[in-house]
Each structure stands twice: as C-alpha cells, then as structure tokens.
Subunit: 91 residues, 2 copies
DNA sequence: TAGATAGTTAGACAATTATCTAAATAAGGA
DNA sequence: TCCTTATTTAGATAATTGTCTAACTATCTA
C-alpha cells in the first residue's frame, strides 16, 4: 500500500463521490459515469486512479465491469491517522 | 474542514514526514527544516499547506514559530474513512 | 461475421504543484 | 540603530494532474 497513491486518490472530490456511491452497493463503470456530468473516459480515468491506489476492485461480468470498494486499504489509512489523533489521550 | 485540502496536504511524503515529526513534540520551523534535505522556503511552503488544511497550528515565540498538530481534523477524516471501512461488518 | 453496447487507451491542453533562488519581514542583541 | 538569526513571500520553472475528443478493445446478439 502506498500512502501517497491513496491520499492522492482521495484528494479529488469526484473520486470521493465515487467512493460514496460504492458504499451503497457495487456498480458498473457506466452506472457510475451516469451519476456525474463528466465524460465516460474521465470517469474511467478516475476509476483507474482509485484502483491503482488499491481503494477499489474491478471484475468483468460479460460486457460490464463491476467496481467495488476494497475496505482493507481504508483500514490501513485509518490506522496511520490514529497514530496522530490517538496521541491526544497521552496529553 | 475541506476534505480536498486535507487529502491534498496528506498526499505529499515530505508533509507526512513533518506530521510524523510533530507527533513526537512541537517544533520550530527551522527545527523541522533541519530534518530534510530541502531548502527552508520549501519546508515553509509545506508548513503553510499543512496549516491551510487545518492539520497543524502555529504560534510565534520571539524569533521562532512553533508548529504543532491539530488532532481534531485528523479525527474528522478518520470519521469519514470509517463510513467506508465500517461497512465491512454489515456484510 | 457484422453491428451494437460497454468500457478503456491515447494524445492534447490548461491548471496545479513542488521545488529552487532571491528578496522581504520580524524579532533580538550589541 | 545596525547586524544577525528565523522565517516567510515572490517569482520562475519543470513535472503532474484533470479533463476533453477520437480511436481502440471486448463482449453479446442477430
């Protein structure tokens, strides 16, 4: 897991909105693209960035590619974040 | 709190290293700059980015400016991250 | 095998970012 | 007031990023 790739991926609002969509349920690339006023290639690029960071997984099902969240990477990042805010109780 | 600013700030390895230093103790700008092979203006710029995201606080003490972590923003981000990885137990 | 649908890849362009050097500001001490 | 130390601000430049259109690949169905 590369923290740089993960945080870069999370630093774009469109990509965070994609993540919020995937919290509800797994979705196809087209399904995701429909939710935004942006071209399919742009959304495809964002999905690639998310996948490259390990935040989402993809699986082809016939003509469709289904995207889902990879929650383990989120847990890793939370663990790092807690090494910061967890210091609070030591004060 | 702007999630975009926070994640952008966290997406640079130098800035994360600065955060790791500040976990140990509060430090002056010059103290921080000494730990990196990078010019002081560059570190100053990174500190500004961190402060702008709300991740660090600064206070002038004479000639020095002392930087410290603002843990509350980390907690806010952790809360959002848990809305993702927290879904895990629902499966 | 030809056409339609789903999705990605390639290439271009404008905007943003990380870094540097040089110059400016702020505070303390002689 | 002048000099030194601490730090930031300004301006330049190379690299990265987000978006678009056009073209390509993959799969299904008739």
């Amino acid at each position: 897991m590369s923290a740089t790739l993960v945080f870069k991926a999370l630093s774009d609002p469109t990509r965070r909105a994609i993540i919020d969509l995937l919290k509800e349920r797994d979705r196809t690339a087209g399904d995701i693209a429909e939710q935004f006023q942006m071209t399919k290639p742009s959304i495809s690029h964002h999905l690639h960035t998310l996948q490259n960071a390990g935040l989402v997984l993809s699986e082809r099902k016939g003509q469709h590619i289904i995207y889902s969240l990879n929650t383990t990477v989120f847990q890793d990042i939370v663990a790092w974040m807690l090494t910061v805010s967890g210091k609070e109780k030591e004060k």
